[in-house]
Symmetry: C2
Subunit: 372 residues, 2 copies
């Protein structure tokens, strides 16, 4: 699946951001799967998490790798591309084809680095609306995403309620708790503590690989659960031990090192800083109470959470459901008993597939999509 690119056209080639700053020109990298029907009523927008990208399904044309939700999206799968037209775009601020801090600033001819303006989840979604406009879709059948993708789904529910028929926020929150902010901040500090970060100016030199790897290692601890780590690694010692002191001894350490090193190869450190900040500042309850935040939303909502997810604990998903109910929104809640922790949204495919396929079917039937 080859990524397409959509560059905003004049005169709307800029976005005015929540910060008041303007950003442009803007390019979004996106992929689509399946076919848009004649009424353009079968489009499902899939929203990626922190380290995701537009390549949600199929095999990448460049590297042959399966998309990050490939076992959920495809012909006959949970999000059935025989029925639905699936779209996934890389967020602005990202580094996987969409405009972000590693993109060239047209005013200077060099990468933006820290001259890139702060972006919010609201700004990311605003850019997605332009893409949907460009594709000629007035109303999405559904927006679906986990973690930061779930935040984007929630943002669609509040900012563009008239553009969606349904929404599936998974393993997410109306706002980050101080503990979630704290984990993000330690990750950011690991990056900025790396001298190679050089206040964001490393595009012509060595990237802050050490710092970014540490940040990712912290992340991976929070994505798993005590139980899933025990099942996967126990206290097993690595068979091939590095003889130097303070190298990885335990298998769990080797796993984290591996995940950290891999991340550095595919992710921009400045994007990591900008995107994690966007999630920390996300707060749908700012200026809203639980009973007003989703007022007037007619979309059907399915909230999904996982019992062992301690990064986005189930109480945060229940708060979303409560807000929906208090606002009279048609919302249902499903708590899955996975042991995978936060990663469950990427791994509990069988349960998710059933939930999502039935929900989409009902949403489509309610709107006559499947009868066309």
């Amino acid at each position: 699946m080859k990524a397409k690119h959509f560059t905003f056209a004049e005169p709307l080639n800029e976005l005015s951001l929540e910060s008041g700053e303007r950003l442009g020109p803007i390019t979004l990298a996106y992929e689509t799967y399946g076919a848009l029907n004649d009424k353009k009523s079968n489009a499902v927008l899939v929203l990626h998490a922190l380290s995701g990208d537009a390549h949600a399904a199929g095999l990448g044309s460049d590297n042959g790798l399966a998309g990050w939700w490939d076992n959920l999206i495809g012909p006959g799968k949970g999000i059935d591309t025989d029925k639905y037209f699936v779209i996934c775009s890389n967020v602005i601020g990202g580094c996987r084809g969409s405009t972000g801090p590693s993109s060239i600033n047209p005013k200077t001819g060099s990468p933006y680095a820290l001259n890139f303006p702060f972006v919010t989840i609201g700004d990311m979604v605003k850019a997605q609306v332009r893409l949907i406009d460009h594709l000629g879709i007035e109303k999405l059948l559904a927006v679906v995403g986990g973690s930061m993708g779930g935040m984007q789904a929630l943002q669609w529910m509040t900012s563009y309620p008239e553009r969606i028929r349904s929404a599936i926020p998974i393993a997410t929150a109306l706002k980050h708790s101080p503990q979630q902010i704290a984990f993000n901040e330690v990750g950011r500090q690991a990056v900025v503590a790396d001298p190679s970060w050089n206040n964001g100016n490393y595009y012509q030199s060595k990237v802050p690989a050490n710092g970014l790897a540490v940040a990712r290692m912290i992340g991976h601890i929070t994505y798993m659960s005590d139980e899933s780590m025990t099942t996967k690694f126990g206290r097993r010692i690595k068979t091939e031990k590095d003889p130097t002191k303070f190298s990885a001894d335990f298998e769990v350490e080797g796993y984290l090192h591996h995940k950290g090193d891999n991340f550095v190869k595919r992710f921009d450190a400045n994007s990591y800083l900008y995107i994690t900040k966007a999630t920390d500042y996300f707060n749908l309850l700012k200026g809203h109470s639980l009973d007003s935040v989703f007022k007037g939303l007619t979309a059907k909502v399915l909230v999904v959470a996982f019992r062992s997810d301690w990064l986005y604990p189930t109480y945060q998903s229940k708060e979303i459901v409560k807000a929906c109910k208090l606002s009279g929104v048609d919302a249902s809640y499903c708590e899955l008993s996975s042991t995978y922790g936060h990663d469950a949204f990427l791994l509990e495919i069988e349960q998710e597939s059933q939930l999502i396929s039935h929900f989409l079917e009902a949403a489509a039937n309610g709107n006559g999509v499947n009868r066309e």
Copy 2:
């Protein structure tokens, strides 16, 4: 309270370590509070956690600061120094007066750095036994400690059961889970990723302050709970914001920065590496089953855990109790409903004081200590 120093005397001026290496000469920094009775039967050994030291109580003669458990230890307090003779020593491998990687290696005239041998919790306790011998105490009334201090208490229970009348392991475990190892490993990686660490050779130059601060920040997240962070910080923004991008915005971020910076001033990065490794390798169930590990122990045991402690979850304390019960040891379990998380062992003083004072009283009465 001025720290005393005990240097092992010839011919026992070395320790043979679990690794097979020998370390010596060895100095232990220690403090004592209260008076040893004539029968030398009222001694309580207090065992410190990762970042603690010998200064457990009273005001430091150098800086006037209260000891790390000062509100628990003193005249009329939970561990009543009118009744008991309290001893606390800095662990070997540490950096607060006892021999550790920052000490001078007599063979080279320079700090050991990574030439310091690996030490274990067993080695730390072995050194403490020498101190107790030096003080002329045959049998301790009690060993008491939280977290890594609790591991030392458990080690006394298995390695020197004939030297203790009672033990109070608090918020601890028979062995680290992979999640606990993972958090330690990310902290270590933050240190070794700092170029100033220089493979441990930084004593003549800049210390790896950035890396060590990040390591400590991770630690502090795990010491608190989701609830205690919400109570203490919420999502409040710092009033004095640094205008640069990616400085601390939220109060919780400022708190972590502050804790990280403070730690760097008082702690040696190599000690951090050695001591965390010692806790990861600690495993009382290696070569033992639950029903054999405490076999033959006649000491009374009080196990204390805190419901909101997710770093050392209560199931780990229950496992200690189970091991005691299966071995026929007189053990009781108390789970306190604090919201402070792992930090509760330093903060829930009122509840701990009651528990510990009654337990010590009973242990002392059982041995006629208080009737002398």
